[in-house]
């Protein structure tokens, strides 16, 4: 009876999800209510978790709860800490959820709501979640080894080295592009710049409190910090209203670039307890609060989605970024559906804290589903805006024109009516000087979030506060990724440098710290600078580069996972990781090829450089702009080289893996798995008789 009821319930959930998806896909004409998106996504996630992840857990990976996890075997209370599965889910989600699922879907909304929504759901269920889950499982079985170590052991020495190099290279582009999102959000916005600047002294204050006054009392310090941050968001309005202070905090793109570079260097070189960690605590609380508030806001307001399902920009002529729906929709969405960077977390902290193998399904697969849902909410927030306003905020001046009148006329000519005064009034309502040409996704997402929040609490009066709260939330956790990433990049450089000259590799050696910090900051700082001076707004070239890098890293992770499945003699289930691998390789290789060689100067780096060179030859560039144009040409060539290097690294790894697979399948090589030996858990109640709580202590409170 219970089984029949279960079948009926799951059938109902499936049918509801299919119906909602169908409504989204075939609906035309009148605006669609956002609830359809929420229902479709939630039902699909529930079915995917209940059926597909259970299948992967049982048949493909054969999770074994009687096997002791690294947290049990090496329990040291520091790295290896047995952790309750709900707490670890929170940890894992806080670590994987970054700006990507918010910014990517917002940018991809230029194709309309349909392609992005479908990819967010399907890509996560069959690609991203599987990657996170399988890599987490593989790392648990290998004492929490990293992706690079697993690639070296299971694929080849060269494969491991390439994976490590790919991580560093992709991290540089990631840090540059997220810094660019912050620059575009803060440019000419004294309120937002003041708010974000004030988070630095707040973090320093918390750092000193947590280090010397009440060591480790994170919760009370974070509550104080969040209260102070909310205060400075409100106080930002006074700054914006004061002619003197408004002038002080109105910064150009280049000034903000310099400020962020100095910040990144400081956060990397200063002791971690002083700036980086307290900012991370603040960011984690505000991130969790803002995401849950957005979900609640969407459920309460149930906004209408005004963007059409498909726009004519699927042909590649989009103003936000150039490129056709295939492959650029997938490259742009990136983290909301599949994120290569998650494999670093799944093979980093999480496997060392997991209590039982069985929890890997909930944590690995489940947390990625939640991240995909964040992407769906970002898509709803972006598409709930009038399309004309969306394009005005996200399009660069070189596409829509320099003045409000010309811009509004251009956007109206695309079929999205817009009056110049609409943008003026909106900017005034959110407390900004202008909202034109604020490419990067963050300002348009903040407008969407502010509209949803203000319809829930406060009405139009609070629109400006909500807008700046949303900007602060985005910028705060982007900077958290930036400083944490810069520090990790510094360690990678020190590790590489230490192979050449040993003292450089010592983590506590101050000249090494300063030099390696300067090197990593210089690397991403240069790409940030080129994004800021790019006439197409920077996002057009850097976001696809980031997307390609991220998806290539996912391909690397899935290649490693496929190799391990093959060695586990799971040939009949190998399609679980092989199909997403093949898809990612096709998408990223197509995107890489187009970004390098496409004849459209807005897409292809080389044709863009050639077009500029032709302008110089034809004498169309004024002499005072010659040096700048030569620099732009150099940047385009550099981007082409970087894209080619990314693609080449992955191709080498794929070829290595195929060779390995062929050798195993033809029995020319023995399939040697590098798993840790089986040790029975002392914590499984049915195994040794000892309950988990009795051994680990009541405070753990598993399940």
């Amino acid at each position: 009876m219970k089984r029949i009821l279960s079948v009926v319930v799951w059938l109902a959930v499936g049918l509801l999800g299919a119906g909602a998806l169908g409504a989204i896909a075939i609906h035309r004409g009148e605006p669609l209510n956002a609830m359809w998106f929420v229902i479709a996504a939630l039902c699909c996630y529930l079915v995917a978790f209940r059926l597909y992840s259970a299948f992967v857990a049982a048949k493909v990976l054969a999770l074994d709860d009687t096997r002791a996890t690294p947290a049990e075997r090496h329990d040291d209370g520091r790295d290896f800490v047995p952790t309750n599965k709900w707490v670890l889910f929170g940890h894992h989600f806080a670590a994987i959820a970054g700006p990507g699922p918010l910014v990517g879907p917002t940018l991809a909304a230029q194709f309309g709501y349909l392609p992005g929504t479908l990819w967010l759901i399907a890509g996560a269920a069959f690609g991203g979640c599987v990657q996170d889950f399988v890599i987490l499982f593989c790392s648990i079985r290998r004492d929490g080894k990293s992706l690079g170590q697993m690639a070296r052991e299971e694929v080849s020495e060269r494969g491991g080295f390439i994976a490590q190099l790919a991580v560093l290279a992709i991290m540089v582009i990631l840090l540059a592009v997220i810094a660019l999102v912050v620059v575009n959000a803060l440019k000419s916005s004294p309120w937002a710049t003041f708010t974000l600047a004030m988070t630095i002294p707040i973090a320093l204050l918390l750092g000193v409190y947590l280090r010397f006054v009440r060591p480790g009392r994170v919760l009370e310090a974070s509550i104080m910090g969040v209260a102070l941050v909310i205060f400075v968001v409100v106080a930002g309005q006074w700054v914006a209203d004061s002619p003197y202070w408004s002038n002080v905090f109105t910064l150009s793109g280049l000034s903000l670039t310099a400020a962020i570079i100095i910040y990144g260097f400081s956060a990397s070189a200063l002791p971690v307890w002083l700036l980086l960690a307290p900012r991370d605590y603040l960011s984690a609380f505000i991130k969790a609060g803002a995401i849950f508030s957005l979900a609640a806001g969407i459920l309460l307001v149930r906004p209408q989605v005004l963007m059409p399902p498909l726009t004519h920009f699927i042909d590649g002529t989009g103003p936000v970024f150039a490129g056709k729906i295939f492959p650029f929709c997938f490259i742009t969405i990136a983290c909301g559906a599949v994120s290569g960077f998650h494999s670093l977390i799944s093979s980093g902290t999480t496997p060392k804290m997991i209590l039982r193998e069985g929890h890997a399904r909930f944590i690995g697969y489940g947390a990625m589903l939640l991240e995909s849902f964040v992407g769906i909410m970002a898509m709803v927030a972006a598409c709930a805006m009038t399309p004309g306003v969306y394009f005005a905020i996200n399009s660069p001046t070189s596409i829509v024109g320099a003045t409000a009148t010309v811009g509004a006329a251009t956007i109206s000519s695309w079929g999205y009516p817009l009056q110049p005064e609409t943008m003026t009034n909106l900017a005034h309502a959110v407390g900004e000087i202008t909202l034109w040409n604020r490419a990067g996704g963050a300002p348009s997402l903040a407008v969407g979030m502010a509209q949803i929040f203000s319809n829930t609490i406060g009405g139009p009066r609070l629109l400006s506060i909500w807008y700046h709260f949303a900007i602060m939330f985005e910028a705060l956790f982007i900077l958290t990724v930036l400083d944490a990433g810069t520090r990790v990049g510094r360690f990678m450089i020190q590790e590489l440098g230490g192979r050449v000259w040993a003292p450089f590799g010592r983590r506590g050696w101050m000249p090494g710290i300063l030099l390696s910090s300067a090197m990593i900051v210089a690397m991403w700082g240069y790409f940030l600078y080129q994004g800021v001076v790019d006439p197409l707004g920077g996002i057009n070239s850097l976001w696809p580069l980031f997307g390609i890098g991220n998806q290539l890293l996912a391909a690397v992770a899935l290649v490693v996972a496929t190799t391990i499945l093959l060695k586990m003699k799971k040939l009949q289930w190998i399609w679980v990781t092989l199909v997403p691998t093949v898809w990612l390789v096709i998408v990223t290789m197509t995107a890489s090829y187009e970004k390098i060689f496409d004849s459209n100067p807005r897409i292809g780096f080389l044709s863009g450089a050639n077009a500029m060179a032709a302008q110089i030859t034809a004498g169309k560039i004024a002499s005072e702009r010659l040096a700048e144009t030569h620099r732009l040409i150099f940047n385009l060539h550099l981007n082409a080289v970087v894209t080619a290097v990314f693609a080449l690294m992955v191709l080498v790894l794929v070829v290595e893996a195929i060779f390995q697979w062929y050798s195993i399948l033809t029995r020319r090589r023995e399939a040697v798995l590098h798993e840790s030996p089986y040790i029975a858990t002392r914590w499984a109640p049915n195994f040794s008789g000892a309950t988990h709580d009795a051994v680990v202590g009541d405070a753990m409170g598993d399940d």
Binding site: D75, D76, G77, R78, D79, V81, T83, N84, W86, V87, G90, H91, A94, A95, I96, A97, G98, P99, G100, S146, V167, L174, I178, L210, R211, P215, G216, R217, V218, L219, S222, P271, V272, W273, L276, A277, Y281, F285, A334, C335, S339, F341, H342, L344, I345, G348, T349, T480, V481, A484, G485, R487, V488, F491, R507, V695, V696, G697, A699, G701
Partner: protein, 66 residues
């Protein structure tokens, strides 16, 4: 009624415990518990030492994603 209040109290206590563990507030307690489980291992860090040690470990590997 009393049963519901008891259950609510239990849930709140669980939430509070989970929140403290999630944000790192209870990390030192967890470390001390681990030390009692492994009697005889190296010297026990003070709360301040543990806090700095923990941060240095956490931020030397990818801990935040895109």
């Amino acid at each position: 009624m009393r049963k519901t209040a008891k259950q609510a109290k239990r849930l709140l206590r669980l939430f509070w415990r989970g929140l403290r563990e999630w944000c790192g507030d209870a990390a030192y307690e967890s470390y001390l518990r681990s030390k009692t489980r492994h009697v005889g291992s190296c010297h026990t860090l003070s709360q301040a030492e543990f806090y700095v040690d923990q941060l240095n470990r956490r931020y030397s590997r990818p801990s935040r994603c895109c």
